[in-house]
């Protein structure tokens, strides 16, 4: 027992971990436990596949995984440990916007390259940071592509916004409102609901009373299903239901076809995404983990691929890795990725967004039209009785 305690103390405070020759040491921070864990699992799996593929390319990654339970202080501790004790070359993660925001600050301080795979809050890459890179699109991208589709296919005049009052939900709703106003669509209803309530019927009834052309929702999967079920119950039937990624783009949602058919959702990646290897990765993922991946998995996969290659090319030097990330160009399952400075962003990938629509219980890519697999069904056909 004494031996164990001594060792534990040694591990925690003293010993800097020894780097193995010929490998590149990277860190990965994710919500392995905690409320965000269901999506976190996608990221973990995506990274696992990336490590395999890197190995095939001759890059051995010594990966240190850290759980941040979705909490910023835990995430900081994890970053701290990776940056100062484990001396990793670069870090991929964390998942949520709140934790990513906290870690970005540390990346700057410790000069450790950080690739944020899936957090979409705009501010993360708008703080003038040099060491934080983002593969994921921003909340504005999610809303933008959906409203592009809506204004092209129809002439909506009014929109209702319903979002969960979490960081993700609120920033998504904010972006949607801005973009809608730019496009001349009036926002007639806005409400943030508390996640986890079994009954949204009264809120939806109030929404229905404003008679909007578009209903824009930001939710994770469980609430997404609940909201659509209850929309059906009370007979809410607008021109279109728009879901900003997350819950609406998950296979579990699509499977509930009674309520999900006809719903649009924006996403960064799908099985049919028009980029090399998407289908293959999708199949591999299903085979290995027994369920279909979300775009989070693809983003995490691509983030790790980029980090692994950049770090290996830089010979394990952090500064050189950063330079490689700033100037580099990659072509993977997310298409061409470059980290650019634009519109107040730094080191931000200009994400090419896709829109899927649930048709017959399956997500079909319907937008942009050139990449579409199926034609979008517009307007919302109404509920089957």
């Amino acid at each position: 027992m004494k031996k164990l305690v001594a060792l534990l103390l040694a591990v925690m405070f003293v010993l800097p971990a020894v780097a193995l020759a010929g490998t590149v040491k990277l860190g990965f921070i994710n919500s392995i436990t905690g409320p965000e864990a269901p999506i976190g699992e996608n990221l973990t799996n995506g990274v696992t596949l990336a490590i395999e593929d890197l190995k095939a390319k001759g890059i051995d990654v010594d990966l240190i995984k850290e759980d941040d339970t979705g909490k910023p202080d835990k995430s900081l501790a994890a970053f701290e440990k990776l940056a100062t004790r484990d001396n990793v070359v670069g870090i991929v993660g964390p998942y949520t916007s709140a934790t990513a925001n906290a870690d970005a600050k540390l990346a700057e301080r410790y000069k450790v390259p950080l690739i944020v795979p899936a957090a979409s809050k705009e501010e993360i890459t708008r703080q003038g940071f040099k060491w934080t890179f983002r593969v994921s699109g921003t909340t504005g991208d999610y809303a933008g592509v959906l409203l592009d589709l809506a204004t092209t296919l129809g002439k909506p005049k009014t929109m209702a916004i319903l979002n969960e009052n979490t960081d993700f939900g609120v920033s998504g709703a904010k972006s949607a409102k801005e973009i809608a106003q730019k496009k001349g669509i009036k926002v007639v209803f806005e409400e943030a609901y508390s996640k986890g309530s079994p009954d949204y019927r009264s809120t939806l009834a109030k929404l229905k009373a404003t008679n909007p052309d578009l209903v824009f929702m930001v939710s994770y999967v469980a609430d997404a299903i609940l909201l659509m079920r209850q929309s059906r119950e009370i007979g809410l039937s607008p021109m279109a239901f728009l879901g900003a990624g997350a819950g609406f783009s998950v296979a579990q949602f699509a499977k509930e076809k009674e309520i999900s058919n006809g719903v649009f959702s924006s996403t960064q990646w799908t099985e049919e995404a028009p980029w090399a290897g998407s289908k293959v990765l999708f199949k591999r993922y299903v085979k290995q983990f027994g369920k279909p991946p979300t775009y989070h998995a693809a983003c995490a996969y691509e983030s790790m691929m980029i980090m692994g290659q950049a770090a290996a090319a830089a010979g394990g030097d952090r500064e050189k890795t950063r330079e490689a990330l700033t100037t580099g160009k990659w072509n993977g399952i997310l298409g061409e990725v470059r980290f650019q400075d634009y519109d107040g962003y730094q080191n931000q990938r200009k994400a090419v967004m896709l829109v899927e629509q649930v048709q017959n219980g399956k997500h079909e890519t319907v937008w942009p039209l050139k990449d579409a697999v199926k034609k979008p069904i517009w307007p919302f056909p109404g509920w089957k009785k």
Binding site: L4, M12, T69, E80, R109, D167, V170
Partner: protein, 359 residues
């Protein structure tokens, strides 16, 4: 039990404990000179914050017997006030922190006027309800708190006296010292309280409210006094956390889980004693960190006790980090069932029974 020590202290302060305490303080002050690992400093800062929170709660819960499970409210009010002032009014945290303290005390007095009318388990539930009201309100008042998006600061402005920059808050060291100083302050405050009229009155209230009342103790006044002292330090802990971590949102600084964690620190260490919260913090913070980052499994493997490629090794490596909250829960159950007086009480009992054996 603690009263007994205090009786002794008034008559003549025992020298040995004093020397030991002084040595420990000096050692802690010198620590950053030797320990360069920022990770270790980070853990130390978290321990300080935990000591501050636990000791602050202890004044109200341990000494006065008012078991608040809503202390996240004061933590959150402190953190939010400081950061709102910094972010939106550009008021330096050096001043903002005190505004946070004032806000937390004011909050405490309002909460006290509501909750102190209620006793026993109802008080516990009321304190939870109030803290939850704060959390949900913070979520729903984006104009004030930026709602669910939380408040992120990237830089803490340097602390200057005149034009001399004392610290620019760029490293962990200033936070380490601030944490250490506040932790010492709260422990000192606990000692002062213990050896004063306040302390006697607080404990009298804990032991028997009606009897205390009949002995001329104004229950409302003294309960609120205990809450105010408690709120001051909890708020300071919150401000320190907010500035140090940089990001706060209702889900972290106003969370019910945080309130439970504060109480747990005290109960696991030993309630109503100066040492209790310190022991609790020193045990819980590294333990949960070790579990989170899977160091226990790694240490077991590295020590050769468990082979890495054995099924147990794989299991530990893969599963133990997932199970850290589970282990936390089990620890809680075990401590309460088998060490109801916390680690301190358990050790004391152990020594007492050993003494009996030898005698």
């Amino acid at each position: 039990m603690n009263m007994k020590t205090s009786t002794a202290d008034i008559r003549g302060i025992a020298t040995l404990p004093l020397l030991l305490t002084a040595a420990a303080i000096i050692l802690l002050f010198l620590l950053p000179k030797f320990v360069t690992s920022t990770y270790a400093l980070h853990i130390m800062i978290l321990i300080f914050i935990s000591v501050i929170m636990g000791s602050a709660w202890n004044i109200l819960g341990g000494y006065t017997g008012q078991y608040s499970v809503g202390h996240a409210a004061y933590f959150g009010v402190g953190a939010y006030t400081t950061k709102i002032l910094l972010q939106y009014r550009h008021i330096a945290p050096w001043y903002g922190v005190w505004a946070g303290v004032a806000a937390a005390v004011a909050t405490g007095l309002v909460i006290g006027s509501i909750c102190f009318r209620i006793r026993g388990p109802y008080f516990v539930l009321a304190s939870i309800a109030v803290a939850e009201i704060f959390r949900v309100s913070a979520l729903n008042l984006p104009g004030l708190t930026n709602g669910a998006e939380g408040i992120l600061i990237t830089e803490v402005p340097p602390f200057k006296i005149g034009n001399t920059v004392i610290t620019d808050f760029m490293s962990k060291v200033p936070f380490y010292y601030i944490g250490l100083v506040i932790a010492i302050a709260v422990i000192l405050a606990t000692r002062l309280v213990q050896n004063s009229k306040l302390g006697y009155y607080f404990q009298a209230i804990r032991e028997d409210q009606d009897a205390a009342h009949s002995l001329g103790i104004n229950l409302t006044l003294y309960k609120n006094a205990a809450l105010a002292i408690s709120a001051v330090f909890t708020s300071l802990a919150g401000s320190l956390y907010g500035l140090y971590v940089g990001f706060i949102d209702p889900g972290t600084v106003l969370d019910l889980g945080l309130s439970v964690q504060i109480v747990m620190t005290c109960i696991i260490g030993g309630i109503g004693t100066i040492l209790g919260p310190m022991i609790g913090a020193v045990v819980l913070v590294p333990f949960s960190e070790a579990l989170r980052s899977n160091m226990i499994a790694q240490a077991l493997i590295d020590s050769g006790l468990v082979k890495e490629d054995s099924p147990l090794g794989t299991f530990l490596k893969e599963q133990l980090s997932h199970a850290h909250v589970l282990i936390y829960g089990i620890l809680l159950v075990v401590v309460i069932l088998f060490m109801p007086d916390g680690i301190l009480g358990f050790i004391r009992k152990l020594f007492a029974s050993k003494r009996k054996e030898t005698a």
